[in-house]
């Protein structure tokens, strides 16, 4: 199994380190040719405006959509924004998932927080340590997209739609690899 991590900007090395720790081959994706031979793709946290513009400039947007039509993709934070169909502002998006997302919805850096949350279908049953950094909010999931995790106050923070996964928090900043293992199972099933 070979997983790509979009490496235009952001926390891509954190994802790669976790994948390698799980014994999976992981490569950086910067240009369309880097997608060849991959079984799945992770879009990391970072600045969604920067990632979107660089994807547009280097002709990645179309190839990423084609890739996602047949293979699993997981976006964390900026990656979730990039995968959404609707974010209520004008910036380059992949527009894959039937989700509405609001950027920086929890506030500025001073409001960034960590909290344990329950994620549907996660091994072990223990709460997952969710790190939110200027994080986006999942406003709504439509069609086949379903919410798989919420904060204690009911705010949805993760969604799954077929082979696609999106989380508004950063599993790559924790030592907990369960969500990465969850994504690898989606790749295996595909």
């Amino acid at each position: 199994m070979k997983i790509g991590v979009l490496a235009l900007q952001g926390a891509f090395i954190e994802h790669i380190n976790i994948l390698r720790r799980l014994g999976v081959e992981a490569v950086e994706v910067r240009l369309p040719a880097d997608l060849a031979g991959l079984d799945g793709l992770i879009i990391p946290g970072g600045e969604s405006t920067t990632i979107g513009k660089l994807a547009d400039t280097y002709g990645l947007t179309g190839p990423l959509r084609d890739f996602a039509a047949a293979r699993p993709v997981w976006g964390t934070c900026a990656g979730m924004i990039f995968m959404a169909k609707e974010i209520g502002r004008d910036q380059p998006l992949l527009g894959l998932m039937n989700i509405e997302v609001e950027r920086n919805a929890f506030g500025r850096q001073v409001d960034s927080f960590i909290t344990p949350i329950d994620v549907d279908g996660l091994n072990g049953g223990e709460p997952f340590p969710a790190v939110f950094i200027r994080g986006p909010r999942l406003v709504a999931a439509h069609g086949d997209a379903r919410v798989i995790a919420r904060l204690a106050d009911g705010t949805p923070v993760a969604a799954e739609e077929g082979r696609w996964l999106a989380t508004s928090f950063h599993p790559e900043l924790t030592g907990d690899t369960r969500l990465h293992e969850y994504f690898l199972r989606l790749v295996e099933k595909n």
Partner: protein, 304 residues
């Protein structure tokens, strides 16, 4: 990792080491640009900057005008925060913890305790553990970096020589920090305490740096980066991203140069692509050779 959270907002724990260092991790592979107006900030965001540094004068102008350089007008920082969706950083004088309290009250996303401003304290830096807002600090070598991290800095930048457009000091400081880490990695355990003493750095952080094979926080390069090639040079030397101060808005075509530096920072190993983005950028900033600066004109020596 030791968590030192400040309080809760009803959703979770705020201001812990993980979220402070975490924002810097999200900025990696990106370019942080100095801006002096909301218009500049929008140009930076459109070019793909990961964050902006809001200040009244870029370092090149601070050099020209002289006098005491202080924290910028909070009103001007607020306007820049309102103009863009990306993180906004702002500078305080070394040791000036009240300027930092003011920036925390404004809600900026990162505070730069910066040698570019006139130091307020000639012996002590700010105790950065006291704040929910993360800090970035400058360093010239590993000892200085680990002292700042010991005081609570959540991100480092090598200092270079700001406002010169001369990359030589940025290279010197990056080579110094990264070279000392390489030396440390080859050192047997029994030498670490003496090495920590020589560096003037906390032993626990020396040990952690050896184990990680890198600084415990994200490390950008700053001070003198003026071209896409300069940015790619710093990335190939091994930093995590770049700050560009005067190099963009003191050049002939800021929007174009800004975009080219962003692309060069992402594709820093792709020489063909670097050649393409370096074409027809117009005049770079004029620049001052660092070797022509009198000792009292050097900013990088500020910091203890």
């Amino acid at each position: 990792m030791k968590e030192n959270g400040h309080n809760s907002n009803g959703r979770g724990e705020l201001g812990s080491v993980t979220v402070k260092r975490g924002l810097a991790q999200m900025l990696k592979g990106g370019v942080i640009m100095d801006v002096v107006t909301p218009e500049h900030a929008r140009i930076a965001e459109d070019a793909g900057a990961v964050a902006v540094m809001a200040l009244e004068r870029v370092p090149a102008d601070i050099r020209v005008s002289g006098g005491v350089a202080r924290m910028s007008d909070p009103g001007m920082i607020r306007e820049i925060m309102a103009a863009v969706s990306i993180p906004v950083m702002a500078k305080v004088r070394i040791g000036h913890f009240v300027e930092a309290q003011i920036l925390e009250a404004l809600g900026v996303d990162y505070i730069d305790e910066s040698e570019v401003l006139t130091p307020a304290d000639e012996a002590y830096h700010i105790n950065k553990h006291d704040f929910k807002i993360p800090f970035v600090c400058g360093c010239r070598n590993l000892g200085e970096a680990l002292r700042r991290i010991g005081e609570g800095a959540a991100m480092m930048r090598t200092k270079g020589e700001a406002g010169t457009g001369d990359v030589v000091e940025a290279v010197r400081h990056a080579r110094s920090v990264l070279g000392e880490i390489r030396r440390l990695q080859n050192m047997p355990e029994e030498e670490l305490m003496t090495f920590a003493k020589e560096l003037g750095a906390p032993y626990e952080l020396v040990k952690e740096t050896k184990e990680l094979g890198r600084l415990p926080v994200v490390n950008f390069a700053a001070g003198g980066i003026a071209t896409p090639a300069d940015a790619a040079l710093m990335m190939q030397l091994g930093v995590d991203g770049v700050f560009v101060g005067s190099g963009i808005f003191k050049s002939g075509d800021p929007a174009r140069r800004a975009k080219a530096i962003v692309e060069a920072t992402t594709h820093y190993r792709n020489a063909e692509l670097l050649a393409r983005v370096s074409e027809n950028l117009g005049e770079p900033m004029v620049g001052i050779g660092v070797h022509t600066l009198a000792p009292e004109q050097q900013l990088a020596v500020r910091g203890w």
